[in-house]
Symmetry: D2
Subunit: 163 residues, 4 copies
Amino acid sequence: MRKIIIGIFGPGETATPSDRENAYNLGQLVARQDWILLTGGRKVGVMDAASRGAKSAGGLTIGILPGNDSDDVSDAVDLAIATGLGNARNSINALTARVVVACGMGLGTASEVALGLKNGKKVILLNSTQAAETFFLSLAPELISIAKDPESAIDLIKYILKQ
Amino acid sequence: MRKIIIGIFGPGETATPSDRENAYNLGQLVARQDWILLTGGRKVGVMDAASRGAKSAGGLTIGILPGNDSDDVSDAVDLAIATGLGNARNSINALTARVVVACGMGLGTASEVALGLKNGKKVILLNSTQAAETFFLSLAPELISIAKDPESAIDLIKYILKQ
Amino acid sequence: MRKIIIGIFGPGETATPSDRENAYNLGQLVARQDWILLTGGRKVGVMDAASRGAKSAGGLTIGILPGNDSDDVSDAVDLAIATGLGNARNSINALTARVVVACGMGLGTASEVALGLKNGKKVILLNSTQAAETFFLSLAPELISIAKDPESAIDLIKYILKQ
Amino acid sequence: MRKIIIGIFGPGETATPSDRENAYNLGQLVARQDWILLTGGRKVGVMDAASRGAKSAGGLTIGILPGNDSDDVSDAVDLAIATGLGNARNSINALTARVVVACGMGLGTASEVALGLKNGKKVILLNSTQAAETFFLSLAPELISIAKDPESAIDLIKYILKQ
């Protein structure tokens, strides 16, 4: 039976401690809802933290990797999808997630948010910047929500899934 | 913990009854080994039959879809990865599968076998044609095995995973 | 001999008259420098206007299309590259352009700017929004320039190519 | 005005002297017809030889590269399209070429032929193997032609373009 896949995207090497903490907590809460976690899969930053959070709650984790193999995969990824596409894999992330949560902000994350919105996905910004919120709200106000913490992000996802 | 992903690829609309029967049985046997099944995800041919087989044995199934959404997905796919890449997604199939099994033969399947071999993957041909066996053996004899039935394919996969 | 490829990216259906006029003029000026024009290739908005501008000055135009064929191609595209990748082709745009010019702003354009910056490309914003300028400057100040008109964009490109 | 793009695909590192000689001659003949040459763009094997042949006759050459930049590009490629997609770029090759010519045979070439045929493209095999001819004729007899030398391949392309 089709599973609900929630995407948590965010910075890799440039993630802040706060980005990683939010990502861990969010990953944990996603898993507790029996949703599947989708990330960019690498062993760094938000991808790694969210996946570890989900595993700490017994969840299932998918990583959509930029590389050809599983060299750079988070240990907390159960299902490593090796795309070999580099950053073009961000488009798959945006298409596959039922709801996109951007935790923190960076250039790759910005591309995932933009492509998600372009495909009509609801996007939740968590621990983002004022500049990012203003920019994305200017482009797609009806698709963007701002979450003040991981718990609120979960409430927003629940609301979106009911629509 | 990283799961073992086995790819079963084969014709869609042009699959023969024998291709579908082999795919169903093979999907079932893959699931019984606690391996994860990867297919091209569409609701037709070998992709659909293998996924239904795996679900009949309680397995977990991933579908790497050519389209942007889940319109054309097999009901037996648990995790629908919407790539939006068309047939370029065949490259992801070839990279993500730990072992590639081609069940039957067609043009898309041929591209997955060729790309799998190019990436150094072991490929098992099941219910293939003499022309396909001769061709792929001529290009990568050390990576190709011929299975006479689904049970033999499973034995070959077990042997490959031990290497 | 390797040609210099300049990418002009911008909104399609949602392009404003001012976006299209700037794109036409910029395409013309790019062609006069003997640079090759790269766009997203579709018969609409900035892609179409920039390509028509370049052709009006005898330039050569490449279109990196999202689709499988040339159904939706601008008549002013000489070389239609059919990717079949949907919006994942935006990553190719960002990688192939020696310099990226975003003319106007939209969701697809935002993804091209973000991916260009992520790959270390210099990006020039023309006819953009305050929100876009603030956002991208916050992420990669050393790679972003703001052009006040097409002529200034050309001067910026010349300066970048000399580095 | 839309240009006619002819794809010449074949082995890289494993190309035989005969593959490279045929590719060079074919590239030259393609350029003399004022067709644009498309290859995989790398500085090796059939891609490099065909591009050099086309340049020797004053033609224009496009290279669809697997990598992120132009590090590995043939010196004879005018327009380097950096896809960053690895072998998934073979799908773009197959979609963009108006006619596909496979010069020699290898695993990457096999994937381009298979994907070309899957997209309904006419494919010409030159300097191929008996096993390849038999295999692809078994899958798409109406789309495959066998050329005995580069001149015959050009005659076949002319015939196909008139259809």
